[in-house]
Amino acid sequence: MNLSLVDPFVLAQDCPEVITGRLRSGHSTSIRFSHRGDLLASGRHDGIVVIFDIETNGVARKLRGHTRQIQSLSWSTNDRYLLSAGQDWKCVLWDLKDGSRVRTVRFEAAIFIAELHPLNHMLFAAALFEDQPVLVDMSNEVPAKHTLPTAPRRSQLERENASEKQAAQDAKQTTTVTLFTPSGDHILAGTNKGWLNIIDAMTCQMLYSYRIANSIIVLLRLTQSGRDVVINSSDRIVRTLHLPDLSDPKFDFESLQVEVEHKFQDLVQRLSWNAVAFSSTGEYVAATTYMNHHVYIWERGQGSLVKILEGTKEELSAVEWHPFRPFVAAVGVDSGRVWLWSVLQPQRWSALAPDFAEVEENVEYIEREDEFDIQPLEEIHKRRLDQEDEEVDVLTLEPVKTTTEHGAGDFRMPVLLDIEASDSEDEVVAVGAGQFRRRSPGAGREWMNDGEGVSGDESRKTNGSVAQNGTKRRRAG
């Protein structure tokens, strides 16, 4: 409801400009905005998933269940469920209402990425390391895993002429990324040989394949409409392409011709890209760079570089664009902080008093005819009250434009009090004035014992309990 009052020039800005904040809770490795845009999930190096509240920049919830670094995160459409994939080879579906684990799915391989179905939060697709990608149905206690194809779909001609070598190569391919289209009918997949595959989510059949690059596809992202794809591949080129409406029943995959729309690359520095993200409308593409401290932003109309976000002193990995605001979050590789860029809104001085006005140049003031007339107070009061004759409607609600407002049945994140105090974000605890020591190993990790058995995490931290003196000694000079 603030939109009608905000400076239209500020609202017209759709690309973030400056660092406006940073979030920290442990060492973050992957992030994902919720669909409504008020929460940011952050997976940590120690396996804890932290939900940040973007409005307060505070921690809304901590989810403990993974023992290794979090690899990917995915929100359900109503923002109530969160799927996390960890390097401990398991995926956990969390219910954010109470922070409980709805399902835990284990794999025999490391997970690249796990993505929830947009309509059914009990269904997800995962790309596995050196294994076939799977579609997992968690609606039963025992999850059902359906293998998805990886080998590209060849045309009839190619199939007839296929040599044994090619068939063997096709079979050796692994899928590195899987992604649902917004309708949930299709899965987009990228392979380590640069193929873009479209798989039917119902039948698990390969519908379409196209070789888009010659090297590994690292990441695929879709816009909210699902019609635009951005592809980050390890050949240092970020490609965007346009897709037809795949859910159209009349659409024929045989006639599909994929064409790369833009190739974004840095020919001079030969930069390679860590992660990519679409802006809310798909108008911009943001990418973090390997061995470099910047976020590059290209716009897709002309395919030109429009902005380089800077200000961090570290390389950035995962990058995320807010679902509807000019607001970018990226994870620092060294510190594990989440850096936030947005637009600055200057204070308009005319808002501070009704008789202030902002003028570009000097204006000669022309007084009203009756401005300094002296009139009886009674008269003024009466006239003013008589003028208040308009009909006033204080009840009718305007249709909402953005999705920040909650409907009656929507899930609302519960507000937990004292979550910061429940475990200190750092591994250092204060023991006195200026005195700190490392947190003893296992402290605050009692959750690990609930049927999980001993994890490798404790053994890693056995040398952590060395007492430290936090005060610096100065040499007498």
């Binding site: 307060t56 505070g58 009250l385 204080v394 009718t396």
Partner: protein, 448 residues
Amino acid sequence: MVDRRNSPPKRRRDDHDNHDDCDSPPPKRSASRTPPNASPQYRLAARPRRYSGQDGEDSRRYYREEPSPRSRSQSRTRSESRSRSTPDRPSTPPQRGPGPAKPTELHYTPTFILRGHKKGVSAVKFSPDGRWIASCSADCTIKIWDARTGKLEHTLEGHLAGISTIAWSHDSKILASGSDDKSIRLWDVSTGMAHPTPFIGHHNYVYSIAFSPKGNMLVSGSYDEAVFLWDVRAARVMRSLPAHSDPVSGVDFVRDGTLIVSCSHDGLIRVWDTATGQCLRTLVHEDNAPVTSVIFSPNGKYVLAWTLDSCVRLWNYIEGKGKCVKTYQGHKNTNHSLAGAFGTYGGGPPPHQWAFVASGSESGDIVLWDVSSKNVLQRLSGHTDAVLSVDMHPTEKLMVSGGLDRTVRIWKESISPPQSALEAAAAEPPRTNGFDPEILPPNPFAAA
């Protein structure tokens, strides 16, 4: 204690040391500005509506959505017929088609008198789920009452000084209170326990608080002239708004949480952007009367402000530079911080629902005005001293009030108008609850 005489009006001041003598010398700020008369001289007569057929789009939602197939079909037929006449006037009220006519008066009758507070009641609030009533008082306690039976559920004790303000979280589980001990406390309503970490940061009395719709933020206004925005989870100040040059007397959140309104005894009402902390609008009336309380309208397009010139003003803060669209008069308000609420009447589905403004008065009355016509719909008497706070039930036709006479009263709208309000009240006296502090032995701690 000396400066207290000259300090600007405060909700719980008068009954601090003497219950009976509540007419302390008027505060200096308002003394010169008191209008020559506070009587409803300028009230307008009922006026025929100007715009005949507008609105009622299907896409529109109403403050209190009542699913009714009838209303939907009506609005559809109306929208067809309307397309010829004046096409777009967004803020005009929905057409009253065939249906109940707009009532010209309301009939709220007392149902409960809840006694228990040992000093004046400074604020009363229905919980958002409508089950509870919370009341806070200068006696340093908050009481939670069952809204249906009037039973005292909890007495929350922990503040070290009188409490001026309370606010419910959206899920009705947490109650926040702001006190003269400069702290804000959160209370678990189900257990009646205080949350262990109070919100410390204000340098003077906390005078007004409000929860954001999601419950993750709390805004507070204080006598130290600052508006603080708190992160509720971490109990820390997120942002301090350089708001005013006099005590901040009222704060509120708009329904989607993106705006904050604050008002102060310096006569200003400011609208803030929650996300950036920028001031977006400043509303000031020419007379510059101290503003004592401010709330957003249910749809968030207007703000309603109480001022010490015995006026309640409705401001359109969006249009132009902000404009006062209605002035409600007929009550007396020159000394105390009165607060009130919006209510609805006209039992029908949304197109046949109208809004009224409810406010207390220093005369002991409660006055209900129609929002558009500014007519007094009802004047309720019962309180024996100034009524400081009035709140409306979120869904039912219930009203609660609290005042300096130490009682909390629940009022219910009777469907059929009684022959005479006085007769009806005499026939069925309101049930009282708890005990009358007058007949109790003097509390040794009360005077301290």
